[in-house]
């Protein structure tokens, strides 16, 4: 009996730690989406597809052109940042005054475009970088270095965004716009420019996430569907546009998936997470950290 409990506890602990590691990357994704929503008031349904394109970018630079991982990563981040800015310029900018639902659906169209573009251009085969990082063993628990690396890099990325938002003029302008859209253009802030910068920043975060996820998962055209929906739910759970809420919600979600997956199949972890989300929507509709009005 005692032996059984010991093993059980180690698996439990391993799942908890893995959940935290997963939460880091999810929090990074949620931050990007929240940034876009908070500032431009648009939901990019296709956010995870940007990540997918970034993952393909990494794959081609590393596997086909033979660049080292550390050289390829900044290029991938720049690529997705440019993609984010282009998405804003081409699709969102003409729709800024349209009903919010139309903006959401237009990015849904972009989701189709990116997915099928990847299918047409890269085929539906699963690809990976061929980089296998070693596994860290503490006692009887096993953690992959790729997850640890992803967790640390995600935290650093979020910290960088935090300093950018609080210490620079542009960052301050972005935060100000998210508080009052009309006034800021009267105060001499070029909203169009700020929107474009925010979109590029959101894209860059997706690019960073792509560099980290490509170490853990194979890339294929539909890989976005495996973490895209989760990212939206995290943002809504934390309160759309609420950065701290999104951060906490990411870890809550990651733990539910990880622990749910421990007791049963991984899919049930997702089912639990989705169900938890729906229940939470009824208890705290405006997000985890919202004050009751």
């Amino acid at each position: 009996m005692q032996a059984f409990l010991d093993i059980f506890d180690i698996y439990l602990l391993e799942a908890v730690v893995n959940g935290i590691l997963l939460g880091g990357v999810l929090a990074l994704l949620a931050l990007g989406l929240n940034l876009i929503f908070g500032v431009i008031d648009v939901t990019w349904i296709c956010y995870a597809e940007l990540v997918m394109i970034g993952m393909y970018g990494m794959y081609y630079m590393v596997q086909v052109f033979g660049l080292p991982y550390w050289v390829a990563a900044p290029f991938a981040i720049l690529l997705v940042a440019a993609l984010g800015a282009a998405l804003h310029y081409i699709v969102i900018a003409p729709l800024l005054t349209a009903p919010p639902i139309n903006q959401l659906l237009a990015t849904g169209g972009v989701l189709f475009i990116l997915q099928s573009f990847a299918t047409v251009a890269f085929g539906i085969d699963f690809r990976n970088l061929g980089i296998r990082l070693p596994v860290l063993a503490i006692g009887e628990m096993h953690f992959s270095y790729s997850r640890l690396l992803a967790f640390i890099a995600a935290l650093l990325g979020m910290l960088a965004v935090y300093f950018f938002m609080t210490r620079t003029y542009t960052g301050t302008a972005i935060r100000a716009i998210s508080q009052d859209r009309q006034i800021m253009s009267l105060m001499g802030v070029d909203t169009k420019r700020i929107y474009l910068i925010t979109s590029a920043l959101g894209g860059a975060l997706a690019g960073l996430a792509a560099c980290l996820l490509v170490l853990q998962y194979d890339v294929h055209p539909f890989v976005g569907l495996s973490f895209g929906p989760i990212t939206f739910l995290i943002c809504v759970l934390g309160g759309l546009g609420n950065f701290v809420g999104g951060f906490i919600a990411a870890f809550v979600f990651a733990e539910i998936i990880s622990l749910g997956g421990l007791f049963s199949d991984l899919e049930w972890g997702y089912v639990l997470a989705f169900a938890f989300f729906i229940v939470m929507m009824f208890i705290r509709p405006a997000g985890l950290l919202a004050r009751r009005s």
Partner: protein
Amino acid sequence: MNSRHAAWGIGLAALIALPFVYRDPYHLHILVLILIWSFAYTAWSIMGRFGLVSLGHGGFMGVGAYITALLWNHLGVSPWIGIPVSMVAAGILALIVAYPCFRFRITGHYFVLVTLALSGIVLQVITATRDYTGGSLGYTPNRAPSGHGLMALQFDDKTTWYLIALAVWVLGLLIWRWVDRSMSRYAMEAISEDEDAAAAAGVNVTAEKLKITLISALMTALAGALYCQYQMFISPDTVSGIAVSLQMVFAVIVGGLYVSLGPTVGAVITILLAEVLRIGFGTKAVGWDNLVYGVLLVIFIIFLPKGILGSVLDRLKTQPKPSGSK
């Protein structure tokens, strides 16, 4: 008014007569698909036109298709009973999710994302229970022994299926029209403008929204079950999940959200496009149809938010009209 009724009558008669005159199985197959999907898209548009944009309809469709097929295969329950059961299940699911949504005023983005979670749940449950549902590999209802086709709602004959699909499609249009003419429409339009004002004016906001949602979910489940019975193969990708939900939204937006035949026009365009690309490019076409869909969707939302049919009708309306017509 009379000329309009006559046009509908003649059109319908022509559609009923069609399979007796023209029997090319491939073309009938395409027509059946168009009719079934038109019905599903019409179901979505009944909610969507009032600003209740749901991405959960993939979930309702999955429930309709899978419960019907599972009851038949595992318990031997005839689809004649299985389809109503699956519709009730989808209705209950819709109420469970929608009631708190409407009660707590979850609207706009939030409503879209809650319903997105719903279709995510249905997809994951189907995949997770792969011992029963075949998971992502798909699922085939058992063939009925010969002579029992009617009981199992399985017909080899395309003409029969065409007539069934036609009847269901007409039913969908009638429901659309009934909602369009009812008090609910005014209530829902008031709600989509301003919920508080509508409530102050005496509209029971929650009840009205629930009614529309329930109608839409029941119809979508029926569409899923019919699709399953017709194709005799379902997989999570074709009848459930977020991709299917987006496909519904896309077709309706392209056809026209605010006119009764808009979803049908959307279904005709999307299905013909997919077929033309498939025949033109063969297996190389994988992905191309969705690429074209996506580009069209973005272009439509930016330039023609009322859809093809909606814009055409608008164009016609602005021209001087003969007296007496509505």
